[in-house]
C-alpha cells in the first residue's frame, strides 16, 4: 500500500501542537504508512542577523515538532522529515510562501498540505487566507487542521496600554497638524482632531511596538530634547575636523573599520545610537548585528571619539537616566572596541 505523504508548515503558534497531531492522525486514517514532512519557512535569509536568530528558533521548533509527531504516531509506520525552507532567499508575502511549499511538495510527491489555522511565519500579520488562495491557484490540495483555539486577545497589549498608545499617537499627530496649520483657526483645530483620530486608531499599534510608561516615556522625550544640543555640538565638531582633513592638500585620512559592542538595548535606543554615529561625519555605521556595530571611521580623532563612547553615554542618558550614563565605562575601557580588518564585513 502506498504511503500517504503530508507536508506541515510550522510556526510558533498556540495551535501548532494540535496541527501536528491532526496531520499525523488524518494521514494514518486511510493508509498504514505515513511520511510526515515538518517544515519551517524562514522569511529572512540566513545572512542577516534576524535570519540567524530565526534559524535557531526554527531548529528548536522542528525538534519539538518531531517529538510531537513521534508521540502521535505511536506504533504506526511514520517517517518524519524536518526541513527549514527559504534559508537562502528573502520571502515576501503569501505568494513566496505558497511557491516554496508547492515546489517542496512537488519534489517529494507530497499530495497534501496540512495548514495551521493560526499559521504566521516571521513577524508579519497572519497570512492564512491569501496563502490558501495562492495554493489553490497552484492546484495544491491543502487541509486546515481543526483546532480549538483560546479566545484571541490583542497580544502583549492590555487595555490601558492600548489607551496610552492611542493617546500618545493622537497628540503627536494633532500637534504636528497644528504646527503645519494655524493653531488659532477653528477649522484647522476641527480637521486636526479628525486627522489625529484617524491616524491614532489606524497607526497607534505600528507607531509604538513597545509598551509606553506614563511617567518614564515623557521623561525620555524631555531627555531626548536635552540630547539634541549635545548631538549638534558633536556634529559641528566632527564636521570641522573632517573638513580640515579634506581641504588639506596632503589629505591625511586613515580609514579603518572598528567594531564596537554597544551597551544599549536593541530597537529604538540602538537605532538612535547607530544613526547618531552615522550623523557625525568621520564615523559611519556599516553594519549593526544586534549590539555589535561595525563602524567605518575616516580619521583617527573620530575613531578616538567613538571609542571614548560619548554618544553611547548620551543615548544611555536619554533612555535609562543619569545613573546609567554615569555608571558605564567607555567602550575602550571595557574592551568592547577594536579595530578590525576588511574581511569582517
Amino acid at each position: 500500500m502506498a504511503a500517504n505523504r503530508v507536508l506541515v508548515p510550522l510556526s510558533d503558534t498556540v495551535t501548532v501542537r494540535q496541527t501536528v497531531d491532526y496531520a499525523v492522525r488524518s494521514g494514518l486514517e486511510d493508509a498504514d504508512e505515513l511520511e510526515c514532512h515538518l517544515v519551517v519557512a524562514l522569511p529572512y535569509d540566513e545572512e542577516m542577523p534576524e535570519g540567524r536568530t530565526q534559524a535557531e528558533e526554527a531548529e528548536e521548533l522542528l525538534s519539538r515538532a518531531r517529538n510531537w509527531a513521534e508521540e502521535d504516531a505511536g506504533d504506526a509506520e511514520v517517517r518524519i522529515e524536518t526541513a527549514a525552507l527559504g534559508t537562502d532567499e528573502y520571502l515576501f508575502g503569501p505568494r513566496d510562501y505558497a511557491e516554496i511549499f508547492a515546489s517542496y511538495a512537488r519534489e517529494r510527491e507530497i499530495d497534501r498540505i496540512v495548514l495551521d489555522p493560526e499559521y504566521q511565519p516571521g513577524v508579519t500579520a497572519r497570512i492564512l487566507q491569501p496563502l490558501e488562495r495562492e495554493l489553490d491557484r497552484r492546484g495544491v490540495s491543502y487541509d486546515e487542521a481543526p483546532v480549538d483555539r483560546p479566545a484571541r486577545h490583542g497580544r502583549l497589549v492590555t487595555g490601558g496600554q492600548r489607551f496610552d498608545q492611542l493617546f500618545a499617537t493622537f497628540w503627536i499627530s494633532f500637534g504636528f497638524y497644528l504646527v503645519l496649520g494655524d493653531p488659532f483657526y477653528w477649522f484647522d483645530i476641527v480637521t486636526g482632531v479628525a486627522v489625529g483620530g484617524i491616524v491614532s486608531t489606524t497607526l497607534a499599534q505600528v507607531t509604538f511596538s513597545f509598551p509606553l510608561d506614563r511617567v518614564r516615556s515623557p521623561i525620555r522625550v524631555g531627555r531626548f530634547i536635552l540630547y539634541i544640543p549635545y548631538l549638534l555640538w558633536e556634529i559641528v565638531r566632527a564636521n570641522i575636523a573632517v573638513s580640515a582633513v579634506i581641504l588639506r592638500p596632503s589629505m591625511p585620512i586613515e580609514p579603518t573599520l572598528a567594531r564596537v559592542n554597544a551597551r544599549v538595548r536593541s530597537g529604538l535606543p540602538l537605532t538612535a545610537l547607530a544613526n547618531s554615529i552615522t550623523l557625525t561625519p568621520g564615523t559611519l555605521t556599516v553594519r549593526a548585528d544586534d549590539q555589535r556595530l561595525l563602524v567605518h571611521t575616516l580619521i583617527p580623532s573620530a575613531r578616538e571619539d567613538l571609542f571614548d563612547g560619548g554618544l553611547e553615554k548620551a543615548i544611555r542618558f536619554v533612555f535609562y537616566g543619569r545613573e546609567a550614563a554615569g555608571a558605564i565605562a567607555s567602550p575602550r575601557e571595557r574592551d568592547d572596541a577594536d579595530v578590525v580588518g576588511g574581511d569582517e564585513l
Partner: protein, 119 residues
C-alpha cells in the same frame, strides 16, 4: 540697526552653509572609496543644510514658516543617516572592500586577497 544685523547674520549663516556644501563636494571628488565618500556626503546634509536652513529661519524672523525650517532640519537629520547607512551596507553586502589604512601587514594582505577574490 536690528534689521542690518539680521541681514548679515542670515548672510553669514548661508555662507557657512555654502562653505560646508563646498567642502563636501571636494571630499566626494577627492576621497578614494564609497565608504569614505559616504562620510563627507553627510556633511552636506548636516551642516550644509543646517546652516542654510538656519539662515532661512533668521531671514524670515519669528513666523510660522520658521517652524517649518526646524521641521525640515529634523527630517533631514532623520533621513540622512538612514540613507548613508543603506549605501554603506549595500556596498558591504555586494562585496565592495573598503580601502583601509595600514594596520600591520596582516590585515592589509587579507584585504588585498579578499578583494581579488570578489572582483
Amino acid at each position: 540697526m536690528i534689521e542690518t544685523l539680521r541681514f548679515w547674520a542670515a548672510v553669514a549663516l548661508l555662507g557657512l552653509g555654502v562653505f560646508f556644501t563646498f567642502v563636501s563636494t571636494v571630499g566626494i571628488l577627492r576621497l578614494p572609496d564609497i565608504y569614505s565618500r559616504a562620510h563627507t556626503a553627510s556633511q552636506t546634509d548636516t551642516l550644509g543644510a543646517g546652516f542654510a536652513l538656519a539662515g532661512v529661519a533668521v531671514a524670515f524672523g519669528w513666523r510660522n514658516v520658521t517652524v517649518y525650517t526646524v521641521l525640515l532640519l529634523f527630517f533631514v537629520f532623520v533621513t540622512n543617516p538612514t540613507a548613508a547607512h543603506a549605501i554603506a551596507r549595500s556596498a558591504a553586502e555586494t562585496g565592495v572592500e573598503p580601502l583601509l589604512a595600514d594596520e600591520g601587514d596582516e590585515t592589509d594582505a587579507e584585504t588585498v586577497a579578499d578583494g581579488g577574490e570578489k572582483r
